[in-house]
Amino acid sequence: MKKLRLSIASVAIGLLALSGCGQGGTPDAPAEGDGAQAEAPEYTVNDSADFKDSKTWKAAKDAGELKVGVKYDQPGLGNVKAGSEQPEGFDIEIAKMVAAQLGFSPDQIKYTETVSANREPFLQQGNIDMVVATYTINDERKKVVDFAGPYYVAGQDLLVAADSDIAGPDDLAGKKVCSVDGSTPAQNIEEKYKKAELVAYDTYSKCVTDLQSGSVDAVTTDDAILRGYAKQYEGEFKVVGQPFTEEPYGVGLPKGDDAMREAVNDALQKGMDDGDWKKAFEYSLGSADDVEMPKIDRY
């Protein structure tokens, strides 16, 4: 009894110390992306948007809320900072851009965190209107969901230590390469670069920790994601810059709503034409000068 009171008291004191002695504000995260200083782009909301043929759009309009599935753990693309509620990144900007064309203002977007495994189930269950979450378009997935876009073509690349001599996937023989278990990049390594040894965790941050401790020689995934990490760990890591796959990122939509797919494709096309796409890219990922805008695939 006495012991218990003592332990509770000591915990209370510990918590007080924890919450009481903190400095205000947030600690500066090491080297954020260039975009952090830039002004957040704004997209003109198309108030006259009308896509009554799409039941997804109609339901969202009636509810006054567009539900978008995004990632919360990919710096530069879809990321939530400690203590913040709002995700940010290129995917988020694309979502805002598309939403504006569909007649939804940024505060009418409701974000839901998706991890790789739940993108299809969430879209199939129909409680999510679209997924903008580094979602690679492929034929297996097209059987289950519809895709608009692509809005960006990423390529699988390698993140290595700054002094590493790995110059491309062919140098990976006998090396340890880290990726997320079950992801497309991980499967690529297993199937196409059999001499490399795959290390698979559940998050990229574990891979990055392993890269720091020297447990792995490279981290592999889409270049856009790696670019975010290289920026965060400037001088320590570099991106090899030899993409060896093409990963067209699409906007995932519920299967069978063709009107919605058309509408989103039009929205993406308009964004690319009027410069909103470029603004979104530069705000989140840095200079877009050497980046090609993808061609929309209206399948």
């Binding site: 009894m1 205000g24 600690p27 090491p30 998706t114």
Partner: protein
């Protein structure tokens, strides 16, 4: 400690006592050496740099961690209460004399008890997650698994109540429902309280799995901070300490309750046994 441990060996004599002291000193030195080695290695790898630790001195980061702790506790508390309810219900189903009730009850119980709780949480999230959200995915996953384990514990407790009790209760004219709720169940819950609480500690630890289905609990925030400030290892250390503190408090409550119940074990049990249940 209890008697049997003391009879395993003789009272130490002067020589044994001296050896004990020497051994204590040697172990202390070895332990200190080990700690020094770990610190040296971590420092060497830059894991002890102030840059890795200074985010924790900011109130916002502390707040995020506290919020995560709160979220973890919330899941654990809701799931514990629900698991106890499910546990009682399934214990009764399995004890039912009607096969139509006891057989399906047993099948459902064995199913949820036999699969990893991680799989249950994951399944809840993938199948229903969109409608019920991450919080309920975790809570239901934890409830289904731990509820079934608790059901078996409670059933064992009910079976352990001497047969005469049931017979006496029937003899004075109580209905079967009354026999169960007034006589058998309170005694079973009381007798099994230490095991029940041990299971609740297990539940609490399993609630750490919430981050896998995007529930923003302590480990989720730990991952997030580690990613943002490039200090995964230090952040996990902080998270582990917080978890150990929470669990030790619960374990302390368990020990206290156990002692209290032992002291009172001869007193009549009634509604009190049930209030102990909600307190858990």
């Amino acid at each position: 400690m209890s008697a049997p441990t003391q009879v395993l060996f003789d009272e130490p004599g002067p020589k044994a006592r001296r050896n004990n002291i020497i051994l204590s000193i040697v172990s202390a030195v070895v332990l200190a050496g080990l700690i020094a080695f770990v610190i040296w290695k971590f420092a060497d790898a830059g894991q002890l740099d102030s840059a890795k630790w200074y985010p924790f001195s900011f109130s916002q980061i502390q707040l995020v961690l506290l919020k995560g702790m709160g979220a973890t506790l919330k899941v654990a508390v809701v799931a514990s209460v629900l698991a106890l309810v499910v546990g009682v219900v399934f214990a009764l189903l399995r004890l039912s004399s009607k096969k139509v009730i006891s057989v399906p009850g047993t099948i459902v119980l064995e199913f949820f008890r036999g699969v990893p709780v991680l799989l249950l949480i994951f399944a809840m999230f993938l199948i229903f997650g969109n409608t019920i959200g991450a919080f309920w995915s975790v809570v239901i996953g934890l409830t289904l698994y731990n509820g079934m384990v608790l059901a078996e514990i409670i059933r064992a407790g009910i079976l352990a109540v001497p047969k005469g009790q049931r017979e006496a209760a029937m003899a004075i004219g109580l209905r079967p429902g009354q026999v169960m709720s007034l006589v058998l169940m309170p005694q079973a819950l009381r007798a099994m309280m230490p095991t029940i609480i041990a299971q609740i500690v297990v539940l609490l630890k399993d609630s750490a799995l919430g981050f896998i289905v995007t529930y923003q609990d302590l480990l989720y925030q730990v991952n997030l901070i580690g990613r943002e400030y490039n200090n995964l290892l230090p952040t996990f250390l902080v998270g582990a300490v917080l978890f150990i503190i929470i669990n030790m408090i619960v374990a302390g409550i368990a020990r206290w309750l156990e002692k209290r119940l032992q002291r009172k074990s001869t007193a009549p049990v009634g509604a009190e046994g049930l209030s102990a249940q909600t307190a858990a």
